[in-house]
């Protein structure tokens, strides 16, 4: 996947969860730990030169809340890197407003699952590269997989591959594929899932859920992911999981995710 001229290194994306005003981290979409102030955290990731940031408000859809535009604007003013936002997005006007605050991408999940035509409409107006669909997948102990929306609480009928294919066909410019059962566990990505979805679609696939080290990035890219996302490994440190914001150096990333040819 990295054999693209001599100019490319896969992106590594901190994926931060918002719970109203605060930053939280979950395990398997549950067990919320409060991390702190999102603006300050974003400022630190900015100083560390993170490739890109994704912010997901995990309450907005369930609470039927509007995105917290004031907070999103404050975060964007600190971030000189690409930004994506997801959570509670149901209308084109909301998307226009979020892009106007300084975000490149919006992440659709619940509304995309319930109303797939919205993905097509949004892509037609804002361009494919603006529209990310979050594909949250739960794998049971017996290996069966299912797509879920509404912060992992509601199952969809389609299987992950046909759902991903459908979303890409409708205009999703990128898929954020998260393993619900690995999220926050440090057990590594669900490489089988990443591989299956990556080979079924032609749009970029971002692996998310379970990363514990840069070695996991290497594995995800080898499995077909275009980019990798992580949270716990960037916000927790040490055995006791103290909150400490870190991000790998360019040298570490280049070594883990080889830049071809250069």
């Amino acid at each position: 996947m990295t054999e693209v001229g001599s100019s490319f290194r896969a992106r590594v994306i901190p994926c931060l969860l918002l719970d109203g005003f605060g930053l939280v981290k979950t395990v398997r979409f549950k067990e919320r730990t409060y991390l702190g102030d999102p603006v300050n955290t974003v400022r630190i990731f900015n100083e560390k030169g993170a490739d890109e940031l994704v912010l997901l408000d995990i309450n907005a859809s369930r609470a039927h809340d509007e995105p917290n535009y004031d907070l999103l604007a404050e975060i964007a003013s600190e971030a000189f890197m690409p930004l994506g936002y997801g959570g509670g997005i149901r209308t084109l006007d909301q998307i226009r407003k979020i892009l106007g605050l300084g975000y490149e991408k919006v992440v659709l999940n619940t509304h995309a699952g319930r109303n797939p035509d919205f993905v097509s409409e949004a892509a037609a107006v804002f361009g494919r590269s603006t529209i990310v669909v979050a594909v949250d997948v739960f794998r049971s102990r017996f290996g069966a997989t299912e797509v879920r929306v509404l912060s992992g609480t509601q199952k969809l009928a389609q299987d992950p591959v046909s759902y991903a294919t459908d979303m890409a066909r409708r205009g999703a410019g990128e898929l954020l594929v998260t393993s619900i059962d690995r999220e926050g566990t440090f057990k590594g990505y669900d490489l089988g899932l990443i591989s299956t979805i990556s080979s079924a679609v032609s749009v970029p696939v971002v692996a998310n859920g379970g990363a514990s080290s840069v070695r996991d990035f290497t594995s995800a890219i080898a499995a077909g992911a275009t980019a990798t996302a992580a949270a716990s490994m960037f916000v927790f440190n040490g055995r006791h999981r103290a909150v400490l914001i870190t991000y790998p150096s360019e040298a570490q990333l280049s070594a883990a995710i080889a830049v071809a040819g250069s």
Binding site: V4, G5, F80, M81, P82, G102, E104, E174
Partner: protein
């Protein structure tokens, strides 16, 4: 921007593109910049930035409807003021795009073509992420000691009719236009406002050049 007179960079706001991020970035580098959304504001700026995100036809149509086109043409084409087009804001400066049916502004000879037919198949489209760029000639990229990389998001790219207009390329298996410069018109396919220290350096250099151009007698130095 160390020397030169105090200038204001105008960021054209016609409802698309990342005006807020551009203003934040100029604020961070200590350059005065303001949102330009009315035709009469265009003349107040010493240099202009034309952002653009979205589908080509939608962007061009909105820009034409904004009333900003004619004053911008006067400033850039007649007065020779510096212009920096970003992403679709750069693509729009050419004559046409395969992505749509609307004509471009036609200020830079060339057209916009789909990446799909000419890049390494391993590159998923839209091409999205940080890419190292190769400078062909000066005038857009800043002078930096380290190899420069920028954030790109696109499925289409500019093909200049005059190769001398291409300032930098990105290697997607074959070279693709990353930055252009023709006279005082510049463009970047990538997003300097989202490219950390590299974008800081590029926009600082753009502002510094605008400041030096607006200084009376600068040519005599």
């Amino acid at each position: 921007v160390a020397s030169g007179p105090e200038i204001v960079i105008g960021v054209l706001d016609y409802g698309v593109g990342n005006v807020a991020s551009m203003l934040s970035m100029f604020r961070r580098i200590g350059v005065s910049a303001s949102r330009v959304s009315r035709p009469d504001q265009v003349a107040e700026a010493a240099a202009l930035v034309l952002p653009g995100v979205g589908a080509f036809d939608d962007v061009v149509t909105r820009f034409r409807a904004s009333g900003l086109l004619e004053p911008l043409r006067e400033r850039v084409i007649e007065d020779g003021v510096s212009l920096l087009g970003i992403c679709v804001g750069m693509q729009m400066l050419t004559e046409a795009s395969e992505e749509g049916a609307e004509p471009g502004l036609g200020w830079v000879p060339g057209r916009v073509t789909a990446l799909a037919s000419r890049v390494d198949p391993a590159l998923r489209l839209p091409a999205m992420g940080w890419f190292y760029v190769d400078q062909l000639r000066g005038g857009v990229l800043p002078v930096m000691e380290e190899r420069q990389r920028y954030y790109f998001v696109h499925s289409y790219a500019v093909d200049c009719h005059d190769p001398a207009d291409v300032a930098a390329t990105v290697d997607y298996g074959s070279p693709v236009t990353a930055a252009i410069r023709r006279g005082t018109i510049c463009g970047t396919q990538f997003h300097p406002e989202k490219s950390h220290r590299f974008g800081v350096a590029l926009l600082s250099a753009f502002a510094a050049e605008a400041a030096s151009m607006s200084q009376p007698g600068a040519v005599d130095d």
